[in-house]
């Protein structure tokens, strides 16, 4: 079972790491944020699986911390999008 949990942790981590290619390709900042959001959720899942595999209950607290800070960071990033656009685009006019 330990081997299975470790393998599952590795698989989830590999999947979200692949998703990071979206940060490279963009094209928009919204796409980059989605990849970061997926990485956050995947990171939480990986932490929980790792913790179960190695029997370290404290990883659940690390996952809790990560979940709360990920929400905070994502909200801050979404709010930063209009101002942090490509410099060659015009400012939003709404």
């Amino acid at each position: 079972m330990t081997g299975f949990l470790l393998a599952a942790a590795g698989f989830v981590l590999a999947m979200v790491a692949l998703g990071l290619v979206r940060i490279l390709r963009g094209p928009g900042n919204a796409d980059r944020l989605m990849a970061a959001q997926l990485m956050g959720t995947g990171g939480i899942a990986t932490l929980l699986l790792l913790g179960a595999a190695t029997d370290v209950p404290a990883t659940r607290d690390a996952a809790l911390t990560l979940a709360l800070l990920a929400i905070f960071a994502t909200v801050a990033f979404v709010k930063g999008i209009p101002a942090a656009d490509d410099p060659d685009r015009t400012q939003e006019s709404e």
Binding site: M1, F4, R60, I81, P82
Partner: protein, 97 residues
């Protein structure tokens, strides 16, 4: 009994991992921001949810299990609202292009 629980864990975690696979595939392959967002929320809600479900029997008590569920609920709440915000930002960006 423990065999049944192990099988349950393995099945749920495999299903969760599948949704992470699907979410990543969607994020990479879907044509525009809003469809990608659709794929992402599946990984967020179902992927993590199924992984948490699979880990519940191994949590070693009611309180740790409740903590796992609380983490999932937090991510669920955040994902519901953040994906709205990301969707709005994506629409704004596509209009600027």
């Amino acid at each position: 009994m423990s065999l049944v629980l192990d099988v349950f864990s393995i099945a749920a975690i495999c299903a969760g991992a599948f949704f992470f696979l699907a979410g990543t595939a969607g994020l990479l392959r879907f044509p525009d921001a809003l469809t990608r967002l659709h794929a992402l929320t599946k990984a967020d809600n179902l992927g993590l949810g199924l992984v948490v479900l699979g880990l519940l029997p191994r949590a070693g008590g009611v309180l740790p299990a409740l903590k796992l569920i609380a983490i999932w609920l937090l991510v669920l709440l955040a994902s519901a609202i953040v994906s709205q915000l990301i969707g709005r930002a994506a629409r704004r960006e596509s209009r600027l292009q």
